[in-house]
Amino acid sequence: MEKRTVAQKLHIDMPLLFGIVVLCCIGLVVLYSAGGQNLHLVIRQAVIMTVALLLLFLTAQINPYQLQRWSIWFYLLGIILLIIVLLAGYTGKGAQRWLNLGLFRFQPSELMKLGVPMVMAWFIAGSQVPPNIGRVLLGCVFIIVPVLLIAKQPDLGTAVLVGAAGFAVLFISGISWRFIISVMVLIASAMPVIWYFMHDYQKRRVLTFLNPEQDPLGAGYHTIQAKIAIGSGGLFGKGWLNGTQSHLEFLPERSTDFIFAVFSEEFGLMGVVLLIAIYGYVIGRGLWIAMNAQETFGKLLASGLIMTLFVYVFVNIGMVSGQLPVVGVPLPLISLGGTSIVTLMLVFGILMSISTHRRMLSSQV
């Protein structure tokens, strides 16, 4: 029996923690520049990160077995809250995502970023793997219900994240390629229907994405300015605090969803490649945890959660660099904003929990 290290006793996955801390540090540095050298903003973000890290450690202490048991209840609570959000009235600017809990506002859709992979892992692991067609279809319902509820808010970005995590679990569980391909064909043919149900601003975003220049001062402004910021960064960038696009306020949402443009402008392609490499490292570590998890539930949940992180990164960079529609997904651990950081730290916490809670194989069999 190998000797357990301190980290293992504390249920901390050191390689993963390292990647997370590095990303947080990069995030604070970029935020200082993007936020107009507002130290208050950076300190507030650092406080949020610290609190979220504490949550990570707490989550890591929970045994995956407990998570597995809570999964369905956690999921159902999320669904109920999503329905309440929809019924609670339609305020705000075209989207109702928030639930006011008095002390702080809370987005139930964030719950589903954890809830969907959890319930899917619980559902699939509860029976034989790979699942049969009937269970796959039932699993699809587990995914599609919250995805539609979230898309209706409307919050396309979160809907994509949640859906991707859910389907990642299905994929990992080993469903047949034939099934996967048929579903893809089905989705392709359902596109026009989805288009029909889209909000105007979502349609506009898609159209703008296809040809941003057609509305340079309106819908296409974000994309064009972001591309200018990225492109003008060049190989080595303009240097920290020297981004003209961001500091002269041409770039909208530069502290939040479009912070990647600030990063690219100031640190250039070299910085960007390094950043993507760090994300790749964290995701790789997540996949390693998934592969080496002891139980099916752990494997599936870890895969679903790490898929969430990947989609975060991919959709954000894709949209900022003008390859994907602008759907409002933050850059993980770098964009300003507490909600996504807390969610991500919980994700990492669960990953650490899966990675560090190992029972002796003998005791399991």
Partner: protein, 617 residues
Amino acid sequence: MSIQFEFKDIVEETRQVKRRVLITGIAMLLLFGFLITRLIYLQIIQHDHFITLSQNNRVKVVPIAPIRGLIYSRDGVLLAENQPAFSLEVIPEKVNDLDVLLSEISLIIDIREDDIARFWKSLREKRRFESVPLKFNLNEAEVARFSVQNHRFPAVEVIARPYRRYPENELTAHIIGYVGRIDDNDLQTVDVSNYLGSTHIGKIGVEKAYENILHGQVGHQQVEVNAQGRVIRVLERTPPIPGKNIFLTIDIGLQKIAMKSLQGKRGAIVAMDPANGDILALVSAPSYDPNLFVNGIDYETYNSLLSSKDTPLVNRALQGTYPPGSTIKPFLGLTALTYGIREPDDTIWCPGWYRLKGSSHLYRDWKREGHGEVDFNYAIMQSCDVYYYDTANDLGITRLHDGLVNFGFSNKTGIDIGGEAAGLLPSPEWKRKTYDQPWYPGETLIAGIGQGSLLVTPLQLVNATASLANNGKLYAPHLAAVSADQISHERNDIQTIRSSEIGIYQAAQWEIIKQAMIDVVHGERGTARGSGYNSKFRMAGKTGTAQVIAIAQDEEYKEEDIPEELQDHALFIAFAPAEEPSIAVAVIVENGGSGSSSAAPIARQLFDYYLAGYQEG
């Protein structure tokens, strides 16, 4: 058995999941690769393109208006200057409640309804951080009053901007003209990029004609701006090149005397240096205050200027066309000598009237009883109409017309400030074209005494007179002499003196006509002899009295019976000193009566001033 099967299943399951996780990982790697490819495209391949776009985004070129050149008289009196005028301006973004602010300010400074209306209008056109003028032209008391209270209004500033001012007011209005706010028409005549920072442009007169010299070259400031257009810092500055100062040919003393002599009258005076075409004085009376036009004249004032019976806005010296009356005689006489129609010693008998053969119509002489025996000299000196009826009749309208064209009549003189009328020399072709009527011989006679359809401008008249003074050299008249750089003070001649020779006349003939004109002033019987007494120099001149209305055959012209605006125009042309002329003038007093009594004394005053230092010999 069952345990073993389950175990196999778990192994198989683990392998399957591992494979899928691996596939997922590879897919993720490929997608990240795709992102990086895209970023390479943006940051390396398209880098130059986006760098340009980003520069365009942040760098704005802000024009800086050059300082307009000043205008001086030839003797260095300032005629157009740039004076700071104070305006009260508000920066909207620093104000919480504009209404409150305006009411508080109006307790300190009188702000009118239309000030407020204009303020709200320009507020909408400007950005939040750009200052919006609330009141223009604050006087010193208002500036002082506000400055004391300024600490209460951090959003309000008193700003001094240079505005054009014409210190001599109406004295030089018809020469200098004025600048006004640039409008769309102006922009079509200039290089728009050079006027990006400018608010005013020359509208008329010297200000307009020499706009290119006075305006200068716009400067540029490359500034870094943010997305709202707010200037963050200045990157580069190309200073504007100020416009050049202009020294006019105008002698301000002479101008003042000329102006004063037409005080309360309508008329025009142009004085010119016959040796080069320099305009020494140019007056059109009444005049107006050009300062009214600089920042936009209000409707009522403009309307009263426009509708005034005395038409102060019309530049009579350039645009006024008058029958020259008898002042045409020296030019016609010279033409007659040249064509051999008259010899200096030929005489005719003047009975006080002239009648064409086969006609009963009598063409009267101004002297009812007649001049008797009249030769060439006497006909000029006494301004005998009958002599010139006969001369015109003998010349015929074609030669009469052509002869006068030689002196520049019916053609624009080409004065540098432009805006002049061409006048009119009637001819049979002209009459056929204009009225579709044949030319009658009687009209030739009327033209012979400078009446009828014959019309000249005061400028043409002085120009022709100058050509008599210098034996047939016609100069293009001009008002601007020298430009002076505001920085280096380097002076450059603006004019290349242009002249043309009236070559057809012989030297002796010039002397004959000059002598006749000297006798007009200094001869015992000269019509302007009253203006020649006691002069230190000799003048050569010719009086003229132009009828405004036709007098019936049997009627007599009685000044007291005729309303003022129908009374005769008084004209006088002259140059002095007669032997070596340095000044030529044309004086027209509208409805002033006779040339000898109203116009000639003015010319004498001008000469006395201008030739004060003259020593004969």
